[in-house]
Amino acid sequence: MKKRKMFIRMITASLMRRRSRMIVALLSIAIGATILSGLVSIYYDVPRQMGAQFRNYGANMIFTGEDGSLGLDEVIAGEKKIDPAELVGAAPYRYENVRINDIPVVAAGTDPQGVQKTSPYWRVEGSWFSGGGELLVGASVAESFRIKSGDVIDVSFTPAAQEDESGEEEFVMDNFKTFTVMGILQTGGSEENYIYMSLDDLRELTGTEGSIDVAELSVSAGQEELSAYIDAINSGVKGVHASLVKRVTASEATVLTKLQALVLLVTIVVLALTMICVATTMTAVVAERRKEIGLRKAIGASDKSIIQEFMGESMLLGLLGGALGSVLGYVFAQQVSINVFSSSISFRPVLVPVTVIASIAVTGISSLMPIRSATDVDPAMVLKGE
């Protein structure tokens, strides 16, 4: 016990009283540990960060009806299978042929809040729509009908004709509803060919409950998790057929894999550089202390105790450098995350012990060679020198 106390006293004295020398070694270890823990933070946070980024490109999952018809209740039952924290948004769509000025146009009934989340890339001139007779008009429809935001227009719907007793179609009156155009939608895609209203407005206009044609969902999850959701919904929710938007999910996965591979590669390079740096520093430390090693051997130190002392010193350096690096690494990762992804990174407590242990191991391994060479010092030769 007493011997261990002296051992600790010696190695702390060596670090504390040779501060200027040791600070260089400590810095090289701390910088390595900083980059290491920062990159590992980023590595694990990339899917979350990129997932949030990818969600700007629209829905990655769709629900359709198994027999062509889908009820709103079934959509909600399907949504419940997804972790609410991961469900960015869901938008059901019901399409009906309606008329403006007697010219046919397709109306989509949807959930205005849901669409805003599943399709954040939609650009609207004017303001967003909600229920109660508010309309969002696709740009090409607006151009054809010369509609601009703020206009009040009538939209008509022709209900399906019923046959009377004689087998002739009965004449039915069109349904009318007055809408206020809130905004003009620009997407550069086919969405510009529709007009959008709330599901309730469409129900009121058509006079029928109708059915949902498709529901778009935006889920912030990895490909495997998404597939698990698909399976759970298809087997667990009757009447709903869920599928992935492959175009979106596959490209997400490709980009993620490449990005993570890049971060991993950089991490390995940094690790190798740190090892070289620490090994060089330790070689210098050993060379500088040849005389001391000779003296220690002269007064009776065995090779084993020389190795223990130098190893103890370098591992203590690894511990301090690792502790410093895990704090600085978080700051580094945070800065990268804010500057690159514009969002903050979550602190992972488990990274602190991991960084410290990795740092001790890296320092230990890279000190091994120089320390082994320390035992070659011949006390008689060293002590003779002036």
Binding site: M10, A13, L295, A298
Partner: protein, 229 residues
Amino acid sequence: MSLLELKNVYKIYGDLHALDDVSLKVEKGEWVSIMGPSGSGKSTMMNIIGCMDKPSKGEVLLDGVDISKESKKNLTNIRRDKIGLIFQQFHLVNYLTAVENVMLAQYYHSIPDEKEALEALERVGLGDRAKHLPSQLSGGEQQRVCVARALINYPEVILADEPTGNLDEANEEIVVELFHKLHNEGTTLIVVTHDPEVAEVAQRTLVLRSGKLSKEIVNENFTGKIHFD
């Protein structure tokens, strides 16, 4: 049985005979000086007696054990257990305090004991300088720390290589006085020096020349008394 006995010892480097058929005996409690000009083989002899080198030929018996046949590892153990070394260059670990430097020898030998280390420093008159780093001590004080370190494990023999070579006269006197004290306490002393003044205070002086023992001078006036008080 003599504490140390060299029997026909040679140390040969190529054509150079650094030690050439040297035989000598040192008895327990004796104070012996080894003198000679530089290149005479003093250092080689010091290294062999100090278990830091092995002879090319011949036997070296330390306390009955032939150290010329021992492995490097065993030599380290013998040096640690039986020999206290004092060097010309003082050689202290520069980031350890005086008392820690003394404790270092205890650490490698057995168990460090700060109280005992402090007592050793008091014996060499440095009780109040125990917490100082070597850089805060004068040359004489550093050498006295080395003396305290050399004697802390009660070695069979204290081997000093030019112990006063880097000291001024006043400090030289202090160190020689310490040797007297140690001798009176029964410690065996082997002092390698080229300073006749230091050599002649010993009981016996062996003169080396070109690797051979050329002369042995016995100090008739040796009283064993402390000269300076």
